[in-house]
């Protein structure tokens, strides 16, 4: 290991001396880390300990968003200043997680532009604009949450439901493959995940009556390797009456059974999108992901049964896509309080106080759920991070108030953890809504909510940053923010968590106490997950400030990298 570290250090020294290109030429390709710009599987595997790069959307395969570098820390974060600001061509909603490979940063914008930037300076290296087809169908803004990297390639899903592979050095498209039919409501906003030369990606479309999936494609060719349908042909389940937190969901089981006998299993248009990346367990060759809401969102009359595997944590075999286990949080959801924030793998205490491999997920209900990884079973759920008012209240024709609203709790925003503090960090929305149901038949690819969920503008809305001890379920600290929060969060070994707000503020908190230690006004909504990296001996924090379409936060087009003032 010492030898390997020396090799890496030597290569970094070459980088410092001669710049990126010459460093690549001088570094032996036979080192464990290759030429540093070529992303090996080993680099991807070890990303959790890599304080130079940021190789995965959520930091590493376990999706901890815990960055190991500590140059920026609680003692000096007050000296954090913008190092550079890059302005993209598209002034619109930004959800990208910057990916950094050996001093090169890859970011995406709305409508599927990709930029490669010099992570030291923000200088543009290349710009790729996806040749968008005429048909796109997407919910919640023309978003993109970033790229995946492997080898010399960059991968992106597109709004017209394609997967594209680009040359990492030039931005030139190498291949594209059609994942599904956008006319039927399929689209891609999530970043892919690459593992063992497979590109894994889910789909949007739970608001359009799709049949959801996770697919694996060959990273070299784009050829489909396997498909896991998130909606099995038998989606009925066990007729669960209570949700994961033990509350009665007020289902009329007899009416549902009668409807099932009449109309059959609704699996073909039952939704079940997968909005976010799977967590990858390299020890067991499993992936864990969460499945979104059933279609139509608010109208359960057309979809009797538990609607498996909507609103669930699901594990499948990474190499074959075969089902392993699942846990459904809400059966027969009629509130769109589904499962979207990406799961995290980490060691947790089980009910007997033993360390076990666990899965964390922040539900739109506003709870952190803690599972056993081996069988997906629930160990515990946390205290609620947001008020629970009227849960559950069935939607009505006139509209019925409930909190959380349909944006959650916690939206798609990824959590971060600090494994030393055994804390998970989530960003929350306090946003009461009225839930209205109005039945309408499957509209062949058009929006199919089965009613509407409407914000109550007269009621106060706000957000929280919450730290939950996942070994006890107790909230350690909670900080209120001016607006409901959407975007993401990053924890670092410097004892910090970073997250942004719709009003343009980007803040650093003490990860142990929640004390606010630093803030910056970005001028547009900071509603994207931050990343970190180290280059030329300096640690940076980087985040997109482009606002958010879903919550109508002020749009912008900035990628802002921060480092400590000299």
């Amino acid at each position: 290991m010492k030898l390997l570290r020396f090799t890496l250090a030597a290569a970094m020294a070459a980088t410092l001396t001669g710049g990126a290109v010459s460093a690549q030429e001088e570094t032996s390709a036979s080192t464990l880390y290759g030429d540093l710009s070529h992303v090996t599987q080993d680099m991807l595997d070890r990303a959790a300990g890599d304080g130079n790069n940021f190789l995965h959307t959520n930091g590493n395969y376990h999706q901890t968003r815990y960055y190991p570098a500590r140059q920026i820390n609680t003692d000096n974060v007050r000296g954090l200043r913008p190092a550079w600001i890059f302005q993209t061509e598209i002034v619109d909603t930004m959800e990208t997680s910057p990916i950094v490979v050996n001093g090169i940063m890859y970011v995406t914008t709305a409508f599927n532009h990709v930029y490669a930037l010099d992570a030291r300076t923000g200088r543009q290296i290349w710009h790729h604009k996806h040749n968008m087809g005429p048909v796109t169908t997407y919910c919640c803004g023309p978003n993109n949450r970033g790229v995946a990297v492997s080898g010399d390639r960059v991968f992106m899903g597109t709004l017209d439901a394609k997967l594209v592979a680009l040359d990492a050095k030039t931005g030139k498209q190498l291949w594209e493959t059609q994942i599904a039919d956008p006319e039927l409501g399929y689209s891609e906003t999530m970043a892919p995940t690459v593992v063992n030369d497979m590109v894994l990606i889910g789909t949007n479309g739970g608001e359009y009556g799709i049949r959801g999936f996770v697919k694996a494609f060959d990273a070299a060719t784009g050829e489909l390797k396997w498909t896991f349908h998130t909606i099995p042909e038998n989606s009925v389940g066990v007729w669960a009456t209570h949700d994961a937190t033990g509350r009665d969901m007020l289902r009329d089981i007899e009416a549902e059974k009668a409807a099932l006998a009449k109309m059959g299993d609704p699996y073909e248009t039952l939704g079940g999108g997968v909005w976010q990346n799977p967590a990858v367990d390299l020890e067991t060759n499993r992936i864990y992901f969460v499945v979104g809401n059933p279609s139509p969102d608010l109208d359960g009359s057309l979809r009797p049964g538990d609607n498996l595997y909507t609103d669930s944590l699901v594990a499948v075999d990474m190499n074959t896509g075969e089902y392993i286990c699942h846990f459904q949080y809400i059966a027969h959801d009629v509130w769109d309080l589904d499962a979207v924030s990406p799961p995290i793998i980490t060691t947790v205490k089980d009910g007997g106080g033993n360390d076990v491999k666990g899965i964390l997920h922040a539900g739109k209900t506003g709870y952190v759920y803690v599972h056993k990884a081996d069988d997906c079973s629930l160990i515990r759920f946390s205290e609620p991070m947001v008020s629970q008012e009227g849960r559950w209240t069935l939607p009505t024709a006139e509209g019925a108030r409930m909190l959380p609203g349909a944006n959650g709790g916690v939206e798609w925003s990824p959590m971060a953890i600090d494994p030393n503090l055994h804390l998970s960090y989530a960003i929350n929305l306090h946003q009461p809504m009225t839930y209205t149901v109005k039945s309408s038949p499957y509209p062949e690819g058009k929006l199919w909510l089965g009613g509407s969920f409407d914000v109550i503008p007269e009621e106060e809305q706000w957000g929280n940053v919450s730290a939950v001890d996942y070994n006890t379920g107790k909230i350690r600290w909670k900080v209120r923010t001016e607006q409901p929060m959407i975007g993401g969060i990053l924890a670092t070994a410097g004892g910090l968590v970073f997250t942004g707000e719709g009003n343009g503020l980007f803040k650093a908190y003490d990860s142990a106490t929640g004390s606010e230690l630093w803030r910056f006004q970005a001028g547009a909504g900071v509603n994207a997950p931050p990343s970190s990296y180290t280059v030329d001996g300096k640690q940076y924090i980087v985040v997109a400030a482009g606002g958010n379409a879903q919550l109508n936060y002020k749009r912008g087009n900035n990628i802002i990298a921060f480092t400590l003032a000299d």
Partner: protein, 187 residues
Amino acid sequence: MRHLAALISASLAATPAVAQDAFVLEDAVALCATCHGEEGKPIDPEYPIIWGEQYFYIYTQLRDFAAGRRASDVMTPMAAQFSRDQMKAIAEYFAARPWPTIEASMEEGDAAIAEKGITGGQCSACHGKWQGDSRIPRLAGRQPGYLRKTMHDFKNEVRTNAPDKTSTMKQLDDQTIDALARYLATL
């Protein structure tokens, strides 16, 4: 004006010039222009602008008119004469035209009322920055009369080809709809 459109529609039904076996794009779009305007500005404040509208939105609306999902005495018989490929050709033609400039203004207090309505209905989740995209229609710079009529038609279930809009619009009172129509028209 609506009477004129009905007459045009009736005459179209009996005219072979745009029948499927002799489709001439120029004739079809000239017919559209009689109501939607020679230079993209409709002849009636409640008619939609189709110059510069999204291709896929125009196409899906023509399909919905033809199938009766969007009921219209004028548009249904007109659209029903076209094949899907002909509808696509018409949609492509108009999508490539420039969006016309229309005159619109807000009244005092409109912006605040409209923005409150937008927050409540979460309108920007689909309509983004109001320019439209693919199957989402452009709202910015539309005629306020058309916007107002459309919101009321959704609310009153006169227009039913986007059924979720009914639930959303029922949450909005008339004052908010009026303010929204003027606000969006001026963007």
